[in-house]
Each structure stands twice: as C-alpha cells, then as structure tokens.
C-alpha cells in the first residue's frame, strides 16, 4: 500500500465510513418513530438559518429593517432559530432518555452536546447584532454578567463589530464543523436502538 497520507486517509475512511453507511437507503425498524425525526428537523431548521443568514449578510441592516422582503427574511432567520432550538431540545430529550451514548456512541453524544452549547453562543451573539433597541438592552444587561465572570476584556458584548464577526464567521464555523462531525458519527455508529428493544445490539459497539 502506498505510504502517502492521502492513501492512508482514504483507506481509513473507506474502512470506518464506507459509502453504504454514509448514504444508507434503509434503516432499522425501530427508527420508524416520530422521536427519531427531530434530529433531521433540527438540521432542516439550521439549513433555513444559514440560507436566510446569508441573504441578511449580503443585504445589510438598512434593507432588513425597512423593506418588506428584508423584514420577512429577518423574521425567517429569527423564527428558524426558535424552531431550531425547539427541535434540538426535543432531540436532546429523546436521546437522553434512550441513553444514546450506548454502543460506543460517546463521541456522537459529546459532539451533539458541544454543538448545543456553541449554538447557544451563536444565538446569543445573534440577539446582540439585531441593531435595534432590543440588542442594545440585551448587551447592556449582559455586560455586567460577563464582567463578573472576568471575561469582559475578551468578550465585549457591547462591541458590535466583535459580536457581528463572531456571529457570522467564527461561531457558525464551529457549529457547522461540529454538526458535520456529529452527523458523520451518527452514520458511522448507526442510529441508537431503544434501550429495551435490542440489548445485545446496543452493546455491540461499532459496526
């Protein structure tokens, strides 16, 4: 076998996550439950957030605060975030109560948990960059909290430029990478079975 890193990476990828696992055309019978729908609903809401966010970034606040299309897109961005969190929290409840870290799925659980935390930071900076009185009030309330934690010098919530760049560049990048890794981990390990359905399968580990 070639010693090149590309060949090693390809071999490892094909072994760990073959295309049949990456793009499956069937799922175990236990996946036919509404509780298994909320992961993909969260992804759908995230896709709407990113799409509407890109439009908002190109057009700017003078457009999204004044024109009808701008207000609509702004609302689409906001309400997609609300649905994103609703779906994600119900997904979290479902996975918590079925102990979804079973079967060597700790990394799937951990990337989801960190993605949840980073999405809170992304949403928070979103509230700070609305460029309206709401964002002004939120930032001035929040600054005391951040200063009391001793991070005010690094994370200045009243600095619109810093919050805007964190919201549109750094945090979406972190959240995007975590989401991709999370989904790849789900595809690699498979969807977790219910606790009482197949105990042997749930403890089998990587498949």
């Amino acid at each position: 076998m070639s010693e090149m890193w590309t060949a090693k990476l390809r071999t490892k990828w094909q072994k760990e996550l073959p295309i049949e696992k990456l793009l499956p055309d069937d799922q175990p019978a236990y996946v036919a439950s509404w509780i298994y729908v909320f992961g993909v609903l969260t992804l759908s809401a995230l896709a709407m957030i990113i799409a509407s966010g890109i439009v908002l970034a190109f057009e700017g606040p003078a457009w999204y605060h004044t024109s009808d299309a701008g207000k609509f897109t702004n609302s689409m961005h906001f309400w997609s975030v609300q649905l994103f969190f609703v779906f994600m929290v119900i997904h979290l409840w479902g996975k918590f109560w079925m102990a979804a870290w079973r079967g060597n799925r700790f990394r799937t659980w951990a990337t989801g948990a960190v993605a949840f935390i980073s999405s809170i930071a992304t949403a928070f900076t979103g509230y700070l960059v609305q460029t309206n009185f709401d964002s002004q009030w939120i930032s001035f309330e929040a600054k005391d909290g951040f200063n009391s934690m001793g991070v005010g010098a690094f994370f200045n919530v009243t600095n619109l430029g810093q919050m805007l760049l964190l919201h549109v560049a750094f945090l979406p990048l972190i959240l995007g990478v975590l989401t991709v890794v999370h989904v790849l981990m789900v595809r690699k390990r498979g969807v977790v079975p219910p606790i009482d359905a197949e105990p042997a399968l749930s403890n089998r580990g990587p498949q």
């Binding site: 055309d25 509404w34 509780i35 479902g94």
Partner: protein, 58 residues
C-alpha cells in the same frame, strides 16, 4: 404591527411567581408545548409507508 398581533404583543410580559421561581407566561407556554410535542412524538404511531426492512414474501 397591526390587528390582534399588536394587541397581543405590544405590552409588557405577564410573569408568574411561585416562591423563588419566576417565569413569563409566554416562556411557560413554549416549554409546555415542547413537552407536549415530546410526548406526542413518543406515543403517536408513525405512519407506515413501504417497508424496506421486511423479509421478501415466499
């Protein structure tokens, strides 16, 4: 905003206070709706479409 939405939204939020716990009615409603959605997702039967997992009939 016009109509019933402005009537509904253009006033300070109503808060419930039970001891140390204080929560706005709107936040409480969202949490209750999420719990109801979770319960429905667990207990409602999933519609059956074509089943790829079944063994072929002999």
């Amino acid at each position: 905003m016009t109509g019933w939405i402005s009537e509904f939204m253009n006033h300070p939020a109503t808060y419930l206070k039970i001891g140390w716990l204080q929560i706005s009615v709107s936040n409480l409603l969202v949490i209750l709706l999420m719990l109801a959605t979770f319960a429905l997702a667990v207990f409602l039967p999933f519609p059956k479409g074509h089943d790829d997992t079944q063994e072929p009939r002999t």
